[in-house]
Symmetry: C2
Subunit: 297 residues, 2 copies
């Protein structure tokens, strides 16, 4: 499958997402400088901007346009970044490296990192309220993001991940791993597509299709993440490799091996392609699926 | 000044706030149980429910009714509770006791406490989106709450508080103390009144008056809090007394002494009463002011 289409798309849009994030984030010259600096440091550490891209593609899939949902796309990245900052804390995954540089608490101290995460979490909702192209969709956007980020989604996945690591099964059950991944990373990835569509006034049928495709894309993304961690490509990964195994994390490779994990990711991507066939932006989303499984970092 | 009016009001409404919080919060029987249990533990530890009461009074002041903004009132208490959980963490104020019992991280561990705080922060916005009596006010409510809770408000005050404690002046400047208090606790207290009014469709004149009165009430509340900490009434306070001084915190008594602090609180309350004279709910709010300065815990 060709990934040129999505590479060109990301090449065009990622700089615009980055520019909008820069505009939206509070200045480091304004108090509280330490927290504003930490927020900017972590948001601007880069990353693939996969979630914002999914928001933009969700808008396109619902017949909307990317430019009008750029702020909403940034809001999802703010939530993602807050979760990375808090997940890296010593009491959580205790990670010193993130996106290729010192994690937020290593750079700014724990107190500022906790507060920067809190502020990004709050700020995401402000950005939605300020930038949603159709004000009457704010309530639905907030509800969607909350469900994805809260205890039924991202937070629930993180605690299940920590608790699974505590029991540290040598070979975790694949159903357990899947349930963790679906919440820890899958929920926000899935919602990203839906959020772009909701902001563009999509109907329920479109939202359901995007949700079903997004679930598969999200899970495939996380499976590949596990595989990359297992294969341990330090420089390319931008975080401490082999950390999952070291911490006894429940991963796909630990459950079913690397080859079966890659096959499962491919299967999920094929399913998501099938669900979206004939819809707007289906080729772009198919190309994104290929990109997700072929990536090396 | 008579506090009977507000005592009767709180006696009538606090149980309804508590009941609504209980209804809204996720069940401890649902996964992730640990985080849900921690969320409930901290929210249900009690407290004065001053912020929800201000939301209800804000609705009344704008010609609305309390029952319709009960959910919105709970959302503000969720934000307040998340901030208490995170402020008590070892990397922050490192407090073992809160509202008369073990702080969240002492009871559930740091990881769960961080995640419970995060989840409450997110959940507050979901509750606003789900329960706002006039759906078209959701955007304005989210913006108001974000400004109060974010780096321009509560988070900004907390980091200024931590940083002021680091320089630990023996006699801090009163302007510095005031600036910290206005953000750390004042912003959310002020916004509570405004949020009740916004949810009830208040006009800008009403919102400005409530904002001006709320700023004074909020600052008076925090000054009295400082005085009570300084006087060290452990059992009544429900948290570790004398902690502020021990940590070199910038407080009003440290800046201007106990007597001048009490006088300043009384002056602020008188100003807030004057601002609201002739408006709906002005007697209740005057009684609340008296309650704030006369309280012993």
């Amino acid at each position: 499958m060709d990934t040129t289409l999505i590479r060109d798309y990301l090449h065009a849009w990622t700089p615009r997402v980055d520019a909008r994030l820069d505009e939206l984030l509070p200045s480091e010259d304004d108090e509280p400088r330490s927290v504003h600096a930490a927020m900017r440091y972590s948001v601007q550490a880069g990353g693939k901007r996969l979630r914002p891209a999914l928001v933009l593609l969700g808008a396109r899939a619902a017949g909307g346009d990317e430019a009008s949902v750029l702020g909403v796309a940034c809001a999802v990245e703010l939530v993602h970044t807050y979760s990375l900052i808090h997940d890296d804390l010593p009491a959580m995954d205790d990670d010193d490296v993130r996106r290729g540089r010192a994690s937020c608490h290593r750079r700014f101290g724990e107190a500022v990192a906790i507060l920067a995460g809190d502020a990004l979490n709050t700020f995401a909702f402000e950005v939605i309220a300020e930038t949603a192209p159709q004000p009457e969709t704010v309530g639905a956007l907030v509800r969607e993001l909350c469900r994805a980020a809260g205890t039924a989604g991202m937070v629930g996945g993180q605690v299940a991940d920590l608790e699974a690591a505590e029991v540290a099964a040598a070979r975790p059950d694949v159903a357990t791993v899947r349930a963790i991944h679906e919440r820890k990373t899958g929920a926000l990835l899935t919602s990203s597509l839906r959020i772009g569509a909701i902001a563009s006034g999509a109907n329920e049928t479109t939202l359901e299709a995007l949700g079903a495709a997004g679930e598969r894309l999200g899970l495939a993304f996380q499976i590949v993440d596990d595989v990359l961690d297992e294969e341990g490509l330090a420089d390319e990964l931008g975080k401490t490799p082999g950390k999952d195994r070291q911490q006894g994390k429940a991963t796909y490779p630990a459950a079913i091996g690397i080859d079966a994990s890659r096959a499962e990711a491919l299967r999920l991507i094929a399913e998501s392609r099938e669900i979206l066939t004939g819809r707007p932006a289906s080729e772009l989303l198919a190309s994104l699926g290929a990109f997700v499984v072929e990536r090396r970092s």
